[in-house]
């Protein structure tokens, strides 16, 4: 109970500080738009090609944007040593992770939803008919990025060259989630839209495994 109430309080703080500065959302939105443009001018895809490669491009863009967005997650707490204040104040340190990964999932999802209309427009993809299913995929995928992402952000914040370290740690670990999200998205956006449940199962499995691992080992990540 204390875990949930602490998480709620911390989540409120995360949302408040982000919506005050809107740093993460604006930078990642611009970043994803840039990737869309760079892809189009380097590959000159035809309409059918862009439909074929769209889902992969979409998730690669989201993945890189996420590794940017997760960067300041724990770095911000170092500026004034607020991480120590949080560690002294909460009973279960998992609350810190839980709040941060919820906030990260939320911001990722928000950024992804903002980018969907651009994606549909630039790559001639029809998304309206599969919007609910697409939302489910975006949610499970963002959660899958945010869980190890939040954990590794706590690791990279304590290393040298931290801006390089986070993607290096995160991207290989995210291979399964990238494979699953891309394929399920492609299934939804294909000529005969279908929801691939095996792919969803992989995403759910990934989320469950890493959430459990974070719950078990999270507190050690914060040791000084």
């Amino acid at each position: 109970m204390e875990l949930l109430s602490n998480t709620a309080v911390l989540l409120g703080k995360e949302l408040r500080t982000e919506f005050r500065s809107r740093e993460l959302l604006t930078t990642t939105v611009v970043f994803v738009l840039l990737i869309f443009m760079l892809f189009s001018i380097t590959f000159h895809p035809t309409t059918s090609e862009s439909q074929q490669f769209g889902p992969g491009l979409l998730w690669v863009a989201f993945l890189f944007a996420a590794s940017l967005m997760l960067q300041p997650c724990f770095l911000r707490e170092q500026t004034n040593d607020t991480l120590s204040a949080l560690r002294l104040s909460v009973g279960d340190p998992f609350a810190i992770f839980f709040a941060k990964l919820t906030a990260n999932t939320f911001f990722l999802l928000l950024m992804e939803l903002l980018m969907l209309p651009f994606f549909a427009g630039f790559f001639n993809v029809h998304i309206l008919s599969v919007l609910p299913q697409l939302f489910l995929v975006l949610f499970l995928g963002s959660l899958g990025i945010a869980i190890p992402g939040t954990a590794f952000s706590a690791i990279s914040a304590q290393a040298r060259m931290r801006e390089l370290m986070l993607p290096l740690l995160l991207l290989p670990v995210l291979t399964p989630i990238l494979i699953a999200t891309t394929d399920v998205t492609a299934g939804l956006l294909g000529a005969e839209p279908s929801l691939n449940f095996a792919g969803l199962g992989i995403m759910i499995g990934f989320d469950v495994v890493f959430l459990t691992a974070l719950w078990l080992f999270g507190e050690y990540l914060l040791e000084e």
């Binding site: 190890p148 954990a151 590794f152 690791i155 304590q158 290393a159 040298r160 060259m161 931290r162 370290m165 290096l168 740690l169 290989p172 670990v173 291979t175 399964p176 989630i177 494979i179 699953a180 394929d183 095996a198 792919g199 992989i202 499995g205 990934f206 495994v209 890493f210 691992a213 080992f217 050690y220 990540l221 040791e223």
Partner: protein, 225 residues
């Protein structure tokens, strides 16, 4: 010193004998020809690499719960030795694949898994090089190692699922199934030899790390005076 030279010599002889058996005792595979000889080294190395990463995972867990530097030494040793074996796999693989499949590389399930596995442990070692303070380096890299190892089955299942969704190049049935008896003996010997090599390398690397730690300790004591 003498003892380790002795052990290394035995192992060298064993590997040489195994190589001889693989080339001259085991028959030449019908469809692939002589290039199939690389199979013995390739598969046995892959096995050693997986064992090494398993040991690394065990050491990582042990470090988090006991905080004994010895577990950290074992972790880094196993990761490095595992990477050495996985490099053998990734080098012999294309050499074998090119004449047989006509391509050096394909993103098939096993190849992708091996590649991702290699990357995960490269990241593990890179992370270690980016943290100065020994306790912090040991703890954070152990935690990353745990996450990375948990990822391995997920990578495997996702790739297997992914690959069954797509057409793939024709790959011969998995080796080991219905192996010719002389081939099997050669393979088992190679497997034994490389497992021996794994233990030898791991032991040597672990001792090196222990020496480093004691040098550090001596330096510290010298500074105090």
């Amino acid at each position: 010193m003498v003892k380790s030279i002795f052990k290394a010599t035995i192992l060298f002889v064993l590997i040489a004998v195994t190589a001889y058996l693989a080339f001259y005792y085991a028959p030449i595979e019908k469809s692939m020809g002589v290039i199939q000889k690389i199979f013995y080294l390739h598969i046995a190395s892959a096995f050693s690499a997986f064992v090494a990463f398993g040991i690394c995972f065990y050491a990582n867990l042990r470090y988090v719960f006991t905080r004994r530097p010895k577990s950290d030494w074992l972790g880094v040793s196993a990761a490095e030795v595992g990477l050495a074996f996985i490099s053998v796999v990734l080098i012999t693989g294309p050499i074998w694949a090119h004449p047989v499949w006509g391509i050096y590389w394909t993103w098939d399930a096993r190849l992708t898994l091996t590649f991702v596995l290699g990357l995960l442990y490269v990241s593990y070692l890179l992370l270690r090089s980016m943290i100065e303070e020994p306790d912090k380096r040991a703890l954070l890299s152990a935690l990353f190692g745990i996450f990375a190892f948990l990822d391995v089955p997920l990578v495997y299942f996702s790739i297997r699922w992914w690959r069954t969704q797509h057409p793939q190049p024709v790959i011969l049935g998995g080796p080991g199934s219905g192996l010719e008896p002389r081939m099997r003996i050669s393979y088992l010997l190679m497997w034994g030899a490389l497992t021996g090599l794994l233990i030898l390398l791991l032991n040597a690397r672990y001792k090196l790390e222990a020496l480093r730690a004691s040098v550090e300790q001596l330096r510290r004591e010298a500074e105090v005076r």
